[in-house]
Assembly symmetry: C2
Homo-oligomer: 426 residues x 2
């Protein structure tokens, strides 16, 4: 099947899925979880083929690890499905209700977006997670996984589709796209695909964002900052900085640059240096930093680099204003925090810093859908349209306006014969 | 100034505007309204220059009318500003609050999007309306108006900018872009402009949507349908159809195609024909329609045409399913309604039809921000991301996540030393 045909099928499927009752969607999720368990051996066998081929092709060890789909991953995705079943049906939720006039009532009601194009690398568990999130939220989905996982992706997609159709879901709502060339075609299908969610490397996400008119929800890089203010409590600042940098370095919410107020630096930096060196963090500092602690010299490119590694750049600033300017210049609008005991200043920082997550006296690593208590996480967005920061299932939802009348016509209001009441209903 | 510099200024201005108190923004709005009134003569003189030049250039009469900015338009925009002053400040509104753990509280808080690129044709009153909406919502704005209105646009933009700065708004938040070539440049500034709202002809909006990676909020065409069901009350159906078609033909929410159930057609169509002919509406019907009433023959292109005129295409369908298929095939996802006394069927129609506004037993012409009671109308969106249908000021808003801690670090939760409470706050 061509990608455009697959997308057309997903569109048609999505429209029927959108009108499906919550209990049928939950029944489908149960059927999927059951089938994944009962066909575990076949799934693992398919995954073995992928692993074998990928080893022969010398795929890097971390990628091989991500590609592996065995008992633990299966249990994890099944647990994810079970928690989805427990969530309220997001479709049909009344967001707003207004009486326009007697007998003419308007409701703003949540509904699925339509067809989601999900492009992800390696991890087959992402396929299950995304497909079941789309199902619960009533969206059709085009899935494009990494070719290294093609056997595993195929069997997982087939199981999910078949089990869901068996439970009453429409044919075609889920489609698997396999070749890299097909991604190009996907990006052009703006009349069939409503939203693209890419998951992968920075350059990959940037490529997607630059090459499609379809809205994209995601983030390319995460250059996160922590600003240690003049009025910071050093006893809090050091552990927050260490946690922000080292708790898990390979993720988008790890701190990459620390900004320190000039009056705090002399006391803070030696303590921080000790703590960071204990975790094997390489420090790259501005000229003033180097006068206080032993570090490599940071240059302009450091401020614009997402290390995703045990490296931290440090810059001493004259004021919070300078810190905010630096964040706006080099940051990626992901997560930026302040450490201070001055509550008023913290409020000002949080008001002024133009970023998805603005934090006060806590680690940047809290920026995450699970930690935020969002339930399922669809992704993280540094865009400023639709959804921002960690995005839960509401990121896959939009709304429609339902107007209930009884023969009402506009001419009666234009002519002055009737007038609107615009009364809030609940 | 180059467009990129103007956009950079707007970005910087927008960041300070975003943190401005509601009372300063309201003071600025008052100052703007006052200055518009006190400089009325200068504004009208500038408008006279535009009108004179445009007449010499043989601008069409309807465009000349839209270009005219005199006493009545001035009063109208000033009234608009006064109503904006009365609205609650949308910035800083708490949308969600969660205790993640003791002393670690998360708030989802409304904030402006950033910089809005507004591209509109002719009407200078749109400039005032849009600029003041952006100010109230804390957004910077790049305004590109029609060149035929350049003198009027210049003085209006200058007055708004100067009056707002006088009242305490940051310099540069509003920028006027003048040449057509600059639109091209605007469309490429995806790192500075966060959202583009185009207002103009279909082809113009389509061009913008196809030629920018910046999210676009708007609608190209409005091919709206009304489906008259088998169980329709003819006494309601005829006036609803007439109102949907003729109450104002030149707008996007006017009906273009009427779908009629085959069992209703014999009784409905002759009555409807009489009513529509009284309003000088040309009817183009499918083959079956022509067997019942006198009409021109509709062809395939009719179903895909937004007439914006006293023309209606009529198609007889076998079922609601066929009507829905037709709507999905030819509609533009703007507004589609059903007329029926069968409440269950109406619900099914509203669930299944994938359109911004789904109406039951009322005119399509109700699809409008004012009639919906939204207060100010930013535009109408047929997109399915961020905002859909008539869009009020909330279309210019997004949110940020503010996390308040007291030295909290993630390692304590990863190690199991602490655990999340995820308690809803209010």
């Amino acid at each position: 099947m061509k990608v455009s045909e697959a997308a057309q099928s997903a569109k048609e499927g999505s429209r029927r899925l959108a009108a499906l009752k919550g209990e049928i969607k939950n029944r489908a999720l149960k059927e999927i979880a059951g089938t994944l368990n009962s066909r575990a051996k076949d799934i693992f066998a398919a995954n073995d083929k992928d692993l074998l081929r990928s080893k022969e092709e010398n795929l890097a060890a971390p990628l091989l690890k991500r590609l592996t789909f065995k008992e633990d991953k299966l249990n994890e995705v099944v647990r994810g499905i079970e928690s989805l079943i427990g969530l309220e049906d997001p479709v049909g939720k009344k967001l707003q209700a207004t009486e326009l006039d007697e007998g003419l009532n308007l409701y703003k009601v949540a509904c699925p977006i339509g067809v989601i194009g999900m492009i992800f690398e390696s991890r087959p568990d992402a396929l299950v997670q995304i497909a079941t999130l789309c199902l619960k939220s009533g969206n059709g989905v085009l899935l494009k996984g990494g070719s290294e996982a093609k056997e595993t992706n195929r069997i997982l997609a087939r199981i999910i589709h078949e089990a869901s159709v068996k439970a009453g879901c429409p044919e075609g709502w889920l489609q698997l796209v396999e070749s890299r060339e097909e991604v190009q075609e996907m990006l052009a299908l703006d009349h069939l695909i409503d939203l693209i969610i890419p998951r992968g490397s920075n350059s990959f996400v940037q490529y997607i964002m630059k090459n499609s008119n379809i809205p994209v929800m995601g983030h390319a890089d995460g250059i996160c900052h922590l600003y240690i203010d003049e009025a910071a409590d050093i006893e809090k600042a050091v552990p927050i900085a260490v946690d922000s940098k080292t708790q898990y370095v390979a993720v988008c919410n790890a701190m990459e640059t620390l900004l320190v107020h000039k009056n705090t630096a002399p006391e803070l930096l030696p303590k921080l240096e000790k703590a960071l060196k204990g975790k094997n963090v390489e420090i790259r500092g501005c000229g003033e930093t180097l006068e206080i602690i032993d570090a490599l010299k940071a240059d302009e490119t450091d401020w614009a680099t997402e290390y995703l590694d045990y490296i931290l750049s440090i810059k001493i600033v004259d004021s919070m204003d300078a810190a905010i300017d630096h964040i706006h210049r080099y940051g990626s609008g992901h997560t930026d925090g302040i450490v201070t005991e001055n509550a008023e200043l913290a409020e000002e920082f949080m008001n002024r810093v133009d970023t998805a997550d603005v934090f006060w006296n806590c680690s940047t690593r809290f920026a995450d859908g699970y930690r935020f208590g969002l339930g399922a996480e669809v992704g993280v967005s540094t865009g400023k349209i639709h959804a921002r920061g960690p995005v839960g299932m509401e990121g896959l939802m939009i709304y429609k306006w339902r107007l209930y009348g009884d023969g009402h016509i506009v001419e009666d209001y234009s002519s002055g014969k009737k007038s609107f009441t615009h009364k809030k209903l609940d």
